[in-house]
């Protein structure tokens, strides 16, 4: 049960980001979700893509610093307050969260969040027990 995120080191230079998205587009890799954390010197680009292997190989070949990180994908739906509930579940289970970002599915009008937590297995168990639906790499291309 896992969702793979690609994490790419981006230099804080004009055009650095578009070079990455162009490379992915050229190789027909779709970006499903994306977030950037940045400082004055560098940025960390986090991607959920349609084809991890192709993205990893092409970006590595282009010389990017890239790693795969296991994250937790959770379906939030479109009900108000659902995200707060998911966060409360993690909090109660004592699981620390590093970051999260959200995305929408193309097919249904549902929101999803990607969670980077200290303990993936514990988070997954707690969320499922609370009735949340989790998504994996297989699901990503159907959304």
């Amino acid at each position: 049960m896992s969702l793979k995120q690609l994490t790419v080191f981006v230099e804080n230079k004009p055009g650095a980001l578009v070079a990455i998205t162009d490379t992915l587009a050229e190789h027909k890799v779709n970006i499903r979700a994306l977030s950037i954390a940045d400082t004055q010197e560098f940025g960390i680009l986090r991607l959920i893509v349609s084809d991890n292997d192709t993205a990893l190989v092409t970006l590595t070949r282009e010389g990017y610093l890239i790693k795969t990180t296991d994250v937790v994908g959770v379906k939030i739906g479109d009900q108000p307050g659902k995200l707060s509930k998911a966060l409360a579940v993690l909090d109660e289970a004592g699981i620390n969260m590093e970051y999260l970002y959200a995305f929408m599915s193309r097919t249904e009008k549902h929101a999803y969040v990607v969670l980077r937590v200290a303990d993936n297995a514990a988070a997954e168990t707690a969320l499922e027990a609370a009735g949340f639906h989790l998504i994996t790499d297989v699901d990503i291309n159907k959304l």
Binding site: Q5, E11, T39, I44
Partner: protein, 436 residues
């Protein structure tokens, strides 16, 4: 441990006798150079010195220096002190800038150079029972020919492999039981990695010792090579201008290299003023060749920064020891009043598990120096959070501060993002306008 020397009477000669020997040789050598090298005679005349002013090593400071620029100006024959018919060999090195350095040798010069290399091999434990694999390049480069000659003098069975063809090197090493390896430290490390990839463990490698030089290397590298090959790794120093490897070499103590003082007279000077510094001071290393015939450089400035110490050594050798060069005098930066050498940064990076791919950027804002170090990250050092990366930057800055005494700002950057010029990384960018 049994104490063995190649030339015991010279290598363990009492210090006063060494100095007396040096004085006698210097007086003769200055006369030889003055009479045969117009280029140096002119330099002496400009300084108002004649051979009559030189009575011994106490007068050495009166002589003019030679620098790499002189070698360039006098290329190719301007510093030759013997007719070409008396010379039997040239060796050459590419200078970092401009023309190549070409050095000439008489048979006497070759012999004394090979004696120096033989002393290094014996100090590393070599005897006529040993099989010595020379994996330095052969040809114009001094590494291969020098150690090859030294190995013959000791009576080792010599494998003149030259460098490259690493799997074949390892095949010869294991099939013919090579016990001593001579090459550059980076090649020794590469041989170690290749042997591991070939499935060999250190105890399957017959080597017992290695003699490594011709490029800077660190204690961390030494430990890595020793573990990978299951050997003791000894440093050797030299430069084509003074003959080649063997000007100085490490003994069993591994705490600095004994300079072959019967042939090479060493001084440490202040690189800015040229003033001779007392023993134990850090400064630029200067060599005078005491009895080379064809290419006898007097007071040649090596640009290497190091320290000389004459403490009794447990190996029994009495010759003065030089530290591993700590940098090049032309690389030294003064940042916030502190001397900083790129090699110090490199040491910290290796210690902390980074590759030595870095760039130092110095600037001046107002009256303060800014000091930044960009370091390329490996994939396993890349963290997916900002906090993870800044924590790594802070840890590196702290480790650098502990060595340098001043605090740099460290930036981790993407692999291969540091500017390279002709394949070599540009190590230092100094934007300060300190000299008009």
């Amino acid at each position: 441990m049994e104490k063995r020397y190649y030339q015991p009477e010279i290598e363990t000669m009492p210090v006063e006798e060494i100095k007396k020997l040096q004085s006698e040789k210097l007086v003769k050598q200055v006369r030889h150079v003055y009479d045969n090298v117009p280029y140096y005679r002119n330099l002496m005349e400009e300084k108002g010195v004649t051979p009559d002013d030189i009575h011994g090593i106490e007068d050495l400071h009166k002589l003019p220096f030679l620098t790499k620029a002189d070698l360039r100006d006098a290329y190719p024959y301007g510093l030759l002190a013997k007719p070409l018919k008396d010379c039997v060999r040239i060796q050459s090195t590419s200078g970092t800038t401009g023309r190549r350095v070409v050095a000439f040798y008489t048979q006497h010069d070759i012999d004394l150079w090979e004696d120096c290399c033989a002393r290094a091999i014996v100090a590393a434990g070599g005897t006529e029972e040993d099989v010595c694999q020379v994996a330095y390049g052969y040809g114009l480069f001094t590494g291969g020919p020098g150690l090859n000659g030294g190995s013959h003098k000791v009576g080792c069975l010599t494998l003149p492999m030259s460098s490259g063809f690493t799997e074949r090197q390892i095949q010869f090493m294991t099939d013919l039981n090579a016990t001593i390896l001579c090459c550059t430290p980076s090649y020794a490390a590469y041989i170690g990695e290749t042997a591991k990839e070939m499935g060999l463990t250190p105890d399957q490698i017959p080597l017992k010792a290695g003699i490594f030089g011709a490029e800077p290397w660190t204690e961390e590298m030494r430990r890595g090579i020793e573990a990978a090959l299951g050997i003791k790794a000894y440093d050797i120093y030299g430069l084509t201008e003074t003959s080649g490897p063997g000007v100085s070499f490490e003994c069993s103590e591994q705490t600095g290299m004994h300079i072959n003082e019967d042939h090479f007279l060493a001084e440490i000077i202040d690189p800015d003023t040229g003033e001779v510094l007392p023993e134990g001071s850090k400064g630029e290393l200067v060599f005078t060749a005491l009895d080379k015939e064809a290419f006898p450089l007097l007071r040649y400035r090596t640009r290497d920064i190091c320290v000389l110490t004459r403490k009794p050594c447990s190996c029994g050798r009495t010759h003065i020891k030089m530290s591993k060069p700590m940098g090049r005098s032309d690389d030294m930066m003064i940042i916030r009043g502190v001397n900083v050498f790129p090699s110090q940064i490199e040491t910290v990076l290796l210690q902390e598990g980074y590759q030595p791919n870095y760039q130092i950027v110095v600037d001046r804002v107002g009256n303060n120096d800014t000091f930044e170090v960009n370091v390329e990250m490996n994939p396993d050092q890349f963290e997916d959070t900002v906090g993870g990366i800044t924590a790594r930057e802070k840890a590196l800055a702290d480790a650098m501060k502990a060595i340098l005494g001043i605090n740099p700002k460290v930036h981790l950057v993407a692999p291969k993002s540091i500017t390279r010029s002709e394949g070599k990384a540009v190590r230092v960018i100094d934007k300060r306008k300190l000299h008009d």
